[in-house]
């Protein structure tokens, strides 16, 4: 236990963060009044957020070790423990999860009128499962949260989604499940290879044979690449994002797809350093394809939500590009970009949900001239557009800059190619803004026709925290970067010292495989 720091607070902070939403969901089972259900859910998510705050404030930023660790025996016959903790990477995502959950409840206040109770139960359970994924230090526990999340998510998309929701929900479920079950086999193989344990930290210290690493990397890649999503297994994402209700899109874009990249960082990198080295170039290639392809497809979209969905493919390409650049700038940039994408795209989906409640259309051509109709809305939207493009002063700039810096350092060509994505990104976002907010006003809207109203107080409150974060990170990224420095440093040191030196040796081992 020398490599972890036990929870120093006098209450199990991480367990509370995970299980308070579960408790809230159980409480909801016995409620009938919809207003009461909404308020209870809001209070529970806010309480969870408050409870999780000490994780940030009491965090020891000088160490890479796991903190706030709790460990109890769970299934002794398989030596499985209830083992949770956070390091400089996961703590940020716990923060993001608990924050976005509050906003999801707020944005659904009026949008969801059907099966209100079930909706809020789904939101709370998905929050618990997502938090669980980020804090699990035991593979079994991790896998339970990872899979359990599918159930409420499947329902969120399929029950409260758009017209094509059932197709999107099933596609999402099956895609993710294929990847997950392959990872499950990988986990079981690791269990036996690592000495009958599923302890993630212990498994990370074992040096596995190169051949085994190679196959395990692929098994885990199946799960994580689908989640990220990386090209070419990204096709579930546009459907799921588009059809999901606003809250579902925010959860998907904000947290859920981060788990893939998180998985690479938490499992693939420490456990299969040789394979990571070997697969570095293919991963960079896939990332760059994702960046450019996603951006190009955005240019052709007619649907507002679908466009943002494809922009996620492009932006997540930066994340994997940065991570697999295997240097500190790239990796920190990738992690920050994950957080940024959660904030920006989360906010974009909130904004689209807000306007959809008024117009009931997502087709870009139905809009036009909205800058005069809803000026405040238009003003906030331009900030998001700039953040998404990566204008200096916003968080998007810091993340993309670090990623591109790292990519240049690793392999120049990929840096150059990825940079074209920035230009394309400016293209599709600004063009979108032009079509929606400028140009001749669409005669359908405005006084005398379909009434539109600007942002109300609830909506402003919903958006405010995300806009604040955009500028905080944009001007002083160290607020969040400082958490990850030691962790990233340690991870890179681990990869460099553990990976077999020299490409020749890897090539030799690969000869044995084929």
């Amino acid at each position: 236990m020398e490599n972890v720091i036990l929870n120093q607070l006098n209450y199990p902070v991480l367990s509370y963060t995970v299980f308070l939403p579960v408790l809230g969901a159980l409480l909801l089972l016995f409620m009938r009044n919809t207003a009461m259900i909404r308020w209870t859910t809001l209070l529970v998510t806010m309480a969870t957020f408050v409870i999780s705050l000490p994780l940030l404030t009491n965090f020891d930023k000088t160490t890479y070790k796991m903190q706030f660790v709790e460990r109890h025996q769970w299934i002794p016959s398989w030596s499985i423990n209830y083992f949770i903790g956070v390091d400089g990477i996961s703590v940020l995502f716990v923060f993001l999860t608990t924050l976005l959950s509050i906003l999801c409840v707020l944005v659904s206040w009026k949008a969801i009128e059907n099966k209100v109770k079930e909706f809020h139960i789904a939101i709370l359970t998905v929050e618990a499962a997502m938090t669980g994924v980020f804090i699990s230090l035991d593979f079994f526990l991790f896998y339970i949260f990872w899979e359990a999340m599918l159930i409420p998510m499947f329902l969120l998309i399929g029950v409260w989604g758009g017209p094509n929701r059932v197709y999107a929900a099933i596609k999402f479920f099956l895609y993710t499940l294929v990847g997950s079950v392959l990872m499950l086999v990988g986990i079981i193989v690791l269990y036996f290879a690592g000495g009958n344990t599923l302890d993630i930290l212990t498994l990370g210290t074992v040096h596995y044979p190169v051949k085994l690493q190679f196959w395990l990397f692929l098994a885990f890649f199946a799960a994580f690449a689908v989640k990220v999503p990386m090209f070419p297994v990204h096709t579930w994402l546009p459907d799921a994002h588009t059809e999901a209700p606003t809250a579902g899109s925010v959860i998907l874009a904000g947290v859920l797809i981060k788990m893939g990249a998180y998985g690479f960082l938490r499992f693939s990198m420490p456990m299969f350093p040789d394979a990571v080295r070997f697969f570095m170039t293919p991963m960079l290639v896939l990332s760059v394809i994702g960046i450019v392809y996603g951006a190009l497809v955005c240019l052709a979209q007619k649907d507002l939500k679908r466009l943002i969905a494809y922009s996620s493919v492009s932006h997540m390409g930066y994340v994997t590009l940065g991570i697999f650049a295997l240097n500190s700038q790239g990796m920190e940039g990738g992690i920050l970009q994950m957080l940024n994408h959660g904030i920006i795209t989360g906010a974009l989906f909130l904004m689209i949900g807000i306007i959809y409640e008024r117009t009931h259309t997502r087709v870009i051509a139905d809009y036009g001239g909205f800058a005069t109709l809803v000026p405040w809305y238009a003003g906030l939207f331009i900030i998001l557009t700039f953040a998404s493009i990566g204008l200096p002063g916003t968080n998007g700039f810091i993340g993309e800059f670090l990623v591109l810096f790292g990519a240049f350092k690793a392999q120049k060509l990929f840096g150059v190619l990825a940079a074209t994505g920035v230009i394309l990104g400016a293209g599709y976002m600004l063009w979108l803004y032009q079509r929606v907010f400028f140009e001749t006003p669409n005669p359908n809207w405005g006084p005398g026709h379909h009434p539109l109203w600007d942002l109300d107080l609830r909506e402003v409150i919903t958006l405010a925290p995300l806009f604040a974060l955009i500028f905080v990170i944009g001007f002083y990224p160290e607020v969040f970067l400082s958490y990850m420095h030691p962790t990233v440093e340690n991870l890179l040191k681990h990869i460099n010292t553990h990976a077999f030196a020299g490409e020749g040796l890897i090539a030799k081992h690969l000869m044995e495989i084929f």
């Binding site: 398989w78 499940l177 294929v178 079950v181 086999v185 079981i188 036996f192």
Partner: protein, 481 residues
């Protein structure tokens, strides 16, 4: 044989004696008592007495061979008996109201369930192939009748007849296998066969191999392994739903009990040979069950194919060929009982006077009017898929773990990939319930006993999913002992 020894041996089969006696009492009681509830309650009480007897017999930590090596009482058989008892109680609970609706509420029904179960218990405790055969026939004959109990329904009659003919066929296979084995080894005692195989040095003998294959075929028929599964969809569909639930657990568990015992104890030295048969069977079973279920529109047929697929997963533990592997199979059976009977309990609750409630379309929009029942069905469906935190995941995890541990990597990958295929048809039910609008109003039949069964199965599916330790330890210690 002296009296004390005789009495001691009788105590060993006290649970079986209890069930037979209670069964006979039920037959008599049926003449005197009009209310079927009384008969059901007496049946459950009798089962509890038998359960108590088994519990008391748990004290021996060594296997007890009695009746001249015909009958064995060990942890393995005791654990299977536990499955059988729970199965009886759950079946009776879901039957009460349902059989009245089917206008087939006979007292014999409950007696036959007890007789069938006694057969299963003899199978689990068989130390000799003859006792095994007797137990199997007692179980089979009782279930043939149970399958055809709705006399006025042609499909129920068809189910019984089909089950009977194919069952008789499989019994012939079993007898043929026993004869061949007896011919080669000169014994029908399960343990002594293993000794004879070694001492006569006939492990590689093709006739011994053939005898073993015939027995696997017969057991495979009871378990519904492909390609011996053809009867299952028709019989499952035609039989009374409560009996479908009963059959999908009891005979399957009994089949696995004897398969495990015969393969491990008699043919333990021939593991390579039996795996050369069982591995293709497992792959075909999982594939057939998962793929054909996709095309079903009747939920009972769909669950029949699902139970075929699950039998394939359970087989992985036997293929592993270790004590741990066998443990994983038995563990799977226990979990499978709860989730499968639970699913059938929901199917039963849709049945009412003049409404079958067996088509998938009947589940359209069920969540709107009946949120609780739908939520329970959702839990069972996700458990059957094997999604955590339900018990179904623990079951699958364990068998796949043992498949990997015994070096059958490809089998593990095939199994998990088909579990994705199967996810589609389980999800479809959830989709119908939650994401479609109701076509017509469905009113549910409910009774306190049905609710009890639903509560128990749901609770177990969730509890065993989150805290599997207790069950795992129980199975492990039973099989090790």
């Amino acid at each position: 044989m002296d009296m004390a020894n005789y009495l001691f041996e009788m105590t060993m089969i006290m649970p079986e004696i209890t069930l037979i006696c209670v069964g006979l009492i039920l037959l008599l009681l049926d003449l005197a008592v009009k209310k079927k509830e009384v008969i059901a309650v007496v049946g459950i009480a009798g089962t509890l007495v038998a359960l108590y007897a088994t519990y008391k017999l748990y004290i021996f930590n060594q296997p007890q061979n009695v009746f001249a090596g015909m009958f064995v009482l060990d942890g393995y058989s005791n654990f299977f008996k536990l499955i059988f008892y729970i199965n009886i109680i759950l079946t009776i609970c879901i039957s009460l109201k349902y059989m009245t609706i089917e206008k087939s509420s006979f007292g014999e029904y409950y007696a036959l369930i007890l007789f069938a179960t006694t057969g299963m218990m003899f199978m689990a405790s068989a130390a000799d192939l003859i006792i095994l055969y007797l137990g199997l026939e007692l179980m089979a004959l009782s279930t043939y009748i149970l399958a055809g109990l709705i006399r006025k329904q042609p499909r129920s009659n068809e189910a019984a007849l089909k089950y009977f003919f194919l069952g008789a066929f499989s019994s012939a296979f079993l007898l043929y296998g026993i004869s061949l084995t007896y011919g080669m080894t000169g014994t029908t005692n399960i343990k002594e066969i293993a000794v004879a195989l070694q001492s006569l040095n006939i492990v590689d003998n093709p006739i011994v191999f053939l005898g073993m294959i015939f027995m696997i075929v017969a057991f495979g028929f009871k378990i519904a392994l492909a390609p011996f599964h053809m009867w299952a969809p028709d019989v499952y569909e035609g039989a009374p739903t409560s009996i479908t639930a009963f059959m999908s657990v009891g005979p399957k568990a009994a089949g696995f009990a004897v398969m495990g015992r015969v393969l491990f104890e008699s043919f333990g030295a021939m593991q390579l040979q039996w795996n050369s048969i069982l591995i293709p069977i497992a792959v075909i079973t999982i594939a057939v069950g998962s793929i054909i279920a996709l095309a079903q529109t009747n939920i009972k047929r769909m669950l029949a194919y699902s139970s075929i697929a699950h039998a394939g997963y359970m087989l992985l533990g036997i293929i592993a060929g270790t004590a741990d592997g066998l443990t994983s199979t038995v563990n799977y059976l226990m979990i499978y009982m709860f989730m499968n009977v639970g699913a059938f309990a929901v199917v039963i609750s849709l049945r009412r006077e003049g409404f079958q409630g067996e088509n998938l379309e009947d589940y359209m929009g069920l969540a709107k009017k009946h949120p609780v029942t739908s939520a329970l069905m959702l839990v069972f469906m996700f458990s059957l898929t094997g999604i955590p935190p339900t018990a179904g995941f623990i079951g699958k995890f364990y068998v796949i773990m043992e498949a990997v541990n015994s070096g059958h990597m490809y089998l593990a990958i095939i199994a998990v990939m088909f579990s994705v295929v199967s996810a589609f048809f389980y999800l479809r039910i959830v989709m119908y319930m939650y994401m479609k609008d109701p076509k017509e109003e469905v009113t549910l039949t409910s009774s306190s006993s049905l609710n009890f069964a639903l509560a128990v199965t749901t609770a177990m599916v969730i509890i065993l999913g989150v805290f599997p330790s207790f069950l795992l330890n129980l199975v492990r210690s039973s099989i090790a002992g």
